[in-house]
Assembly symmetry: C2
Homo-oligomer: 292 residues x 2
């Protein structure tokens, strides 16, 4: 594990924190081979963010040996936290006698402070971050499993969604707990550029990634930037051009306009979570959730 994979708290890590720190950025990435295009882009990106004065926190999931599988140990009862994960861990749960209820039990464990350290450590990075870069190779038109399981395990009810344990406030969209943070996807793919364009066979990228961009980032309150895609990734002739493109996007991380996903609680939606009849009348599909 490189020094970049450790959490830089309190500015103790001089390597990763500039003297004139502007903001804190979490670089979350998932590729099994550091000597890859993804590995190179990661290095370039982290170095650049540091050079322009940001503090950089990192989670290099393969290097960390991250376990992406949400299991009952994530919802362990306080009395059981020091022991191995067993059925007994769920026995006393208010919501779920004798069985594991994913959302309720992980929420309870989060509130009780009994979730595994590997989860609270990631949550702490996210709390500190003003922006998150989520970098991955597009596998089967989605995130690699190791990355999907970061969201499955870290984005627990009471932390990322649900209701706020203290105030009872609904944590969603413009009321989401991560409001004010920005999210940028950087993804490489084998398909050629037009395949993910507006009429591309692989699916227009913003719609293809709707579950991540809108259902995860926007849902938790983040401002979502247009994803940066690197197509034809197996045939990159000019790495400099790709590098420049990445640097340009990182320079604009806190200034470029976010995708205009609609807020949920200002009249655009019905209580049944449907777009109100007066908005985009007669239209349907994921695109209607972006204001034009």
């Amino acid at each position: 594990m490189s020094v970049l994979d450790s959490l830089t708290l309190g500015g103790n890590d001089g390597t990763m924190q500039g003297n004139d720190t502007l903001s804190t950025v979490l670089w979350l990435s998932a590729h099994p081979e550091p000597r890859s295009l993804n590995g190179s882009l990661r290095s370039v990106g982290i170095t650049h963010l540091h050079d322009i004065g940001h503090t950089v926190l990192t989670s290099d999931l393969y290097a960390m040996g991250w376990d992406p599988v949400l299991r009952s140990r994530d919802g362990a009862h306080p009395a059981q936290t020091d022991g191995p994960t067993t059925e007994a861990a769920d026995t006393d749960s208010v919501h779920s006698p004798n069985r594991f209820r994913v959302s309720a039990d992980t929420r309870s464990a989060h509130i009780a402070g009994t979730q595994p350290h590997e989860i609270t450590r990631e949550q702490e990075k996210l709390r500190r971050a003003d922006a998150v870069i989520v970098q991955f190779p597009l596998w089967w038109y989605g995130m690699p499993a190791i990355l999907k399981g970061w969201f499955d395990r870290v984005f627990v009810s009471g932390f990322a969604f649900g209701t706020d344990p203290a105030s009872g406030r609904r944590l969603r969209f413009e009321q989401g707990p991560f409001a004010g943070k920005r999210a940028l996807v950087v993804t490489t793919l084998g398909d050629r550029p037009l395949a993910i364009g507006p009429r591309g066979k692989s699916g227009e990228l913003r719609e293809l990634l709707f579950g991540l961009l809108h259902g995860t980032f926007a849902y938790t309150g983040m401002s979502v930037l247009e994803p940066l895609a690197v197509p034809s990734a197996d045939r990159i002739d000019d790495f400099d051009a790709v590098r420049d493109q990445l640097i340009e996007r990182l320079d604009a991380l806190f200034t470029e306009p976010a995708i205009a996903y609609r807020p949920q609680f200002t009249g655009d939606y019905t209580p049944e979570w449907e777009l109100a009849p007066h908005v985009c009348p007669g239209e349907h599909g994921v695109r209607i959730h972006t204001a034009s």
Copy 2:
């Protein structure tokens, strides 16, 4: 692990194979708690498929302890197959001296027959299946990591996509290796029904799952059925109604019309993977890849 989780080869498992077997169905599922709505639906579904005469193969990923993380051991060189996964495993790869190239190296290992047994076992189930049921709780508007990683690891180039090792034929869409197989998603979610409807805030389900339905199932040649969604899954008052709905869909598994995703090689698309100008002129987005 229950008897259902073992591969029923050659009809030796009387429990899971009827006397008048019609077809073979793979039930692929991912939920950490058997005593859950998902667990109940799984039991009901498998029992019913058996009752109506199908052979049922199963992959209950949590029960199997499936490892969803694609690593270099999936692309190990023949000489290294008995040893642990190390960098050396990649050293002699034609495509990738000294580093792991995901697609090329897993393809090479597939052709050489050196992939881990846990992968070839799943591939064999899929080869035998006439239909696949993919059942999961919708987490962050996608598959749980353990399931996403089934596709990441099992759907290797030369088996599920790429070019056919023998004929050189492109394995994609109507030329896909799984042509003739049917795929049905069964998914539970906390959101209420309208949230995944045509104007629902969570995203119209067919568009939300485009990467799976089109980018994975249709891409590999399968006929894709309309997904069966069970919304408000935390507040099911009438399990019988849900059960009846599932049984109805299973009864129609081989007869209901598939989603009319467009074939790739019959003139609808350009060689650059764009929908040809004469098809849905002026339109864009994932929906244009379905013929109306």
